[in-house]
Symmetry: C2
Subunit: 301 residues, 2 copies
Amino acid sequence: MSEPKPSDTALIRVRLDLAYDGTDFSGWAAQPTLRTVQGELTTGLSTVLRSPEPVRVTVAGRTDAGVHARGQVAHVDLDAAAWAALPGRSDREPGRALVSRLVGVLPHDIVVRRAELASPGFDARFSAVERRYLYRLADADAVRDPLRRHETVWWRRPLDVEAMDEASRALVGLRDFAAFCKQREGATTVRTLLDFSWTRGPDGVLEATVRADAFCHSMVRSLVGSVVPVGEGRRDRDWPRRLQEGAQRGSGLHVMPPHGLSLEEVVYPDDAELANRAVMTRARRAPVTTAAPAEAERTEA
Amino acid sequence: MSEPKPSDTALIRVRLDLAYDGTDFSGWAAQPTLRTVQGELTTGLSTVLRSPEPVRVTVAGRTDAGVHARGQVAHVDLDAAAWAALPGRSDREPGRALVSRLVGVLPHDIVVRRAELASPGFDARFSAVERRYLYRLADADAVRDPLRRHETVWWRRPLDVEAMDEASRALVGLRDFAAFCKQREGATTVRTLLDFSWTRGPDGVLEATVRADAFCHSMVRSLVGSVVPVGEGRRDRDWPRRLQEGAQRGSGLHVMPPHGLSLEEVVYPDDAELANRAVMTRARRAPVTTAAPAEAERTEA
């Protein structure tokens, strides 16, 4: 009795870990005439895999124009034979061979850092249990670093990091973040904010860590925008919390620029829970109106 | 009895601390048709100070094309009246007013972080007792960060950081670094290398710290180039030291690319020693041939 062998047309799922400089991209999602991360990645993968059709890439967090990523995760479903053929005459395993070939075809502002067979049940988008973002703000001439200007917002006024930290932590929890979300009919704006805190790094730059199960569109930039006036002393420390409780997109709330923002990490459960998680996520986020389930939830930020 | 007041035409010396992204510059030194850091800075200062003649900028370390700086130091000699007039109607002191005005006229790849009256005897170039450089190398796909690609060399082969560190430390000391210097007639190639060591940072990138009293032209990039083959296992750990002892620019020595290199810090002595130091440096580095003293020593890297 031998194990059944996959036929040449069987599909296998591959997890990709990637990073990109969002500066010159019109965001993640492919658009006909614009340069996007998904567009470049699809072209690169299709070239390397000699795929007759564009390779479809599913991503954990669809980032907006100008937003960066160091810890983005995606998956692609590939022909098993194409995967097995990747090493060619090299003794690399297929994932390493794929990464190496992609280096040759992708532009320098996208790096696929790792490619590997996904665990059973893995879905880059629906298996994710947590996304972590970083926002960087330089609030003094003395801490502006021109080498990192593409990923740091230069603010003209000094900011009180302790006040911002206190105001941010007050937002943590299971809440309705409608005040920080672009409204989309039928989509919930309830999220679990796991962490929202500020530190001043060794280079003097303010860094926010923002973690949640998922984010609605432009939520991180709105959250940061709500606490910057607190840091400037123009709003008191309760203001962001009061905005949240008002549950409407607040007047005076400034959505911060995209280039300070980077998706740093996407967290997945253990293999055993993976398949289960994807089913639950789809069900829980199902819309109450007619939007298609797979589109009911945006995880952009 | 009152203190004598400086006349309107008295000169005062101002210290500038600056940072730049070297990517789009043809190095530090002003050249007629090329974009240089000195050229942009001179234009910006002359504009802000409404100077009828170009403001002359003297720098601690003249960096090559593509080399960056986070800790560059320069000085300018300004008309005392122009300095005093800088705050205009603001209540800023002149240094802060100058920095703020420069933000408005300098391109985003140069930042003057601080401007202040220099201590008596201060000379950005001749008072410096130490320069510290950083070199960044990413030796695996998994640690390539597209956001920092402008300041990190991507190397295709894995490197043994422990071997590189040992080989590097063997070069520390007062030595003739002719093997790592472009020869210039009449200029000494003896330097005190204070530190040359490697660590793998939290992001997985290899970072070299290189400190010396001064550097000859392309010396840091040559030093790094001598230990990379050790990291690859193609040369033994004694090779860089043997190159140094050979005292000739070695065959097989690869000068590393400029974009991995950044001038991080220039160290000056206490105020009391400052003036003394400048006199000593000029004397010690005097050429044995006819080169003008001020040009006998390059501190580029």
